[in-house]
Symmetry: C2
DNA sequence: TTGAAAGCGCTACCAG
DNA sequence: CTGGTAGCGCTTTCAA
């Protein structure tokens, strides 16, 4: 008997005090069906009966078993979120709002955090097994195969903060091209002539679009060249390293646009360490507008991602309550961001033309910093 | 017919292509039980049969329905996390590690984020309905009533980063008293004589313990007085405001211990704004050691919470695989943190006695900062 | 409005 | 090792 290892396992099957609808029925001399109906809003049952049932249920500590219910109804009231980058402060904010929104539509959140090496695709079958009502995937794409699998299962999926140009998979993202353009406008208005762009993950649409919008708008405005610097990922360290490389060039840029705020934070530190003052010697712009971007120590000018709208749109696209117009459900929805000007950018040249030329409104500059 | 509003609902019952074990059985001329066994690791089934089943399953796109399985086995392989403070960077880190650990033990994560006003207690019944295998509650306490309810359901619960002194509910936390003491030691070793303590939420055990450890150790070391300043919550803004109040006192403190890193960041900015240099004029210490504490712009000396150990211990206390010694499972487990010295603290007085007296090893001081 | 009965898709037990 | 047979606790027709 010592040989059996899984001895305690059967013990784990909670053998205990859970009351079923049957128990309530017995106590009340009703049928089990009636108990069920009492807990179904749309069921036809007399008010008094329902009240009696509810009363008895409370007394007995009865709660419908959602698992059993799901087996019948074929939906779990659970929405799955796939989110990899929990360490970047941008994502917890998205997650927070997503969970709140999901709760608002009466669902629960199943969170899946892929391991570093793990492909998002691999986890979908598992999620599908859980019969989730919908899946929100952040910052990852989807192959046409998986799209088909989800479709077959009738499980709606939506991509958040990324999209797949070719595929018809629903996606919501900030309008990164427009964002890049807005930043180009801002920098050119501030008379910068040697801007640099620091990318994150090289292949992400997010990145590419920001860059495209930024560079093309720069061209349109007559700024021919833009220094392109690879970040590698979206981390503080990557931003730090990229900024240092930029600062050590023979011809330094007079402005840097980092594709994420956290990278910009790293950049800020690196630039100061290299003896450059921000914004006097160089302007710095980020992307996302995480809360800390507004802290005085950063004062980062950045493009605010419209997270509330994005989250709202994403959940809406899941169409969990079946009341969507269906016809005009665009495959991918881009939402405009908003430039937030702070103290990390100021105009070049000696003819002050904008209100950002010097630190104003008591908001001090970051220049003294010598890190 | 226009009167019926829930017309489309039945339509949502995915009427589609999901293959069941029965389908696979039919195709293979086997019994449905055998299909089930093929997917049960511990079941007795021949290797060849299992292989055939797996092959056919793949071909048909069959995956066991975990809902149906859960109905039988009475567990869902889901661990619920209740986490309110997603915006404080400390919690995403905890969440990240929790999910990884939960995945490592073969479970999924159901995330519940209570709304601002919502009581944690209120959500437990819902979680219980979902038949989760266990519940991890971060930064919130539990009433004895709920503890009893969970116990009745045989659903293990563990508190993370908080504990209930009276109750016998399993809890894991950083040893905050010891943490407070370590910081007192550090500050006194650096010859500070007018330390201040800035609290977060006034009633949290976390807080109280830090404070207790800090103040009593200070006393032991001969520092009689410690300025106590209320933060109110754990935010940057709260830290900022508290630090400003402290800086505007007639007799300023020569060191401030903020009960969270984010508060300390706010404090750093406030102090600089008030014209104080850190660490030359005043030392600043935080608590948590979030990643950004190590960034040059903060260089925050702080007490590192042993998150990996805490997470590991918490999940272990859930005892999800039933192989715990059971006898020596302490109701509450405190894990020692570790002081991380950076550039926000330095010794007072003119007799350099410790290596922190002046900025060393090329790590520059933060003094130049004038925010 | 209510009760009886038939499953949802699976696991678990019992024979063989 | 495999096939039959009971359910898990609920929702949902179908009659009454």
């Amino acid at each position: 008997m010592a040989g059996r290892t899984d001895r305690r396992k059967p013990d784990r099957r909670k053998p205990s005090a859970h009351v079923t609808a049957e128990d309530v029925a017995r106590k009340l001399g009703l049928s089990q069906s009636t108990i069920s109906r009492a807990f179904t809003a749309s069921a036809s049952i007399s008010g008094t009966t329902r009240a009696r049932v509810m009363e008895a249920a409370r007394a007995l500590g009865y709660r419908p078993n959602v698992i059993a219910r799901s087996l019948m109804t074929r939906h779990t009231n659970i929405v799955a979120i796939v989110m990899a980058n929990l360490v970047d402060p941008f994502y917890p904010i998205v997650l927070d709002q997503l969970t709140q929104r999901i709760k608002a539509i009466g669902r629960q959140t199943l969170l899946f955090v892929p391991s570093p090496g793990q492909d998002v695709e691999d986890v979908l079958p598992m999620l599908l097994q859980y019969q989730v009502d919908g899946i929100v995937i952040t910052s990852a794409t989807l192959s046409s195969t998986m799209v088909r699998v989800c479709a077959a299962q009738r499980t709606p999926v939506v991509l958040l903060n990324r999209y797949v140009p070719g595929l018809k998979v629903p996606a919501v993202s900030c309008d990164n091209i427009a964002g890049g353009r807005q930043i180009a406008d801002h920098l050119v208005a501030l008379r910068h002539v040697r801007p640099a762009f620091v990318s994150g993950q090289p292949d992400a649409t997010t990145n590419l679009d920001c860059q495209r919008g930024f560079v093309t708008r720069l061209h349109e405005l007559g700024v021919a060249s833009c220094i392109q610097e690879q970040g590698g990922d979206y981390s503080y360290e990557a931003g730090f390293a990229a900024a240092r490389r930029l600062a050590r060039r023979k011809r330094r840029p007079d402005a840097i646009f980092f594709v994420s705020d956290v990278m910009a934070f790293g950049g800020l530190d690196a630039l100061r360490q290299e003896g450059m003052r921000v914004p006097e010697d160089i302007s710095v712009v980020g992307f996302d507008d995480v809360p800390s971007a507004g802290w005085p120590c950063f004062g980062l000018t950045t493009l605010r991602q419209p997270v509330p709208a994005m989250v709202h749109a994403a959940i809406a696209m899941l169409d969990l309550d079946g009341d969507a117009p269906a016809r005009r459900r665009p495959a991918t929805r881009l939402i405009m961001g908003e430039l937030v000007e702070r103290t990390s950018t100021m105009a070049r040249g000696r003819h002050p033309r904008t209100r950002r030329d010097q630190p104003v409104d008591g908001r001090p500059s970051l220049s003294g910093i010598r890190i």
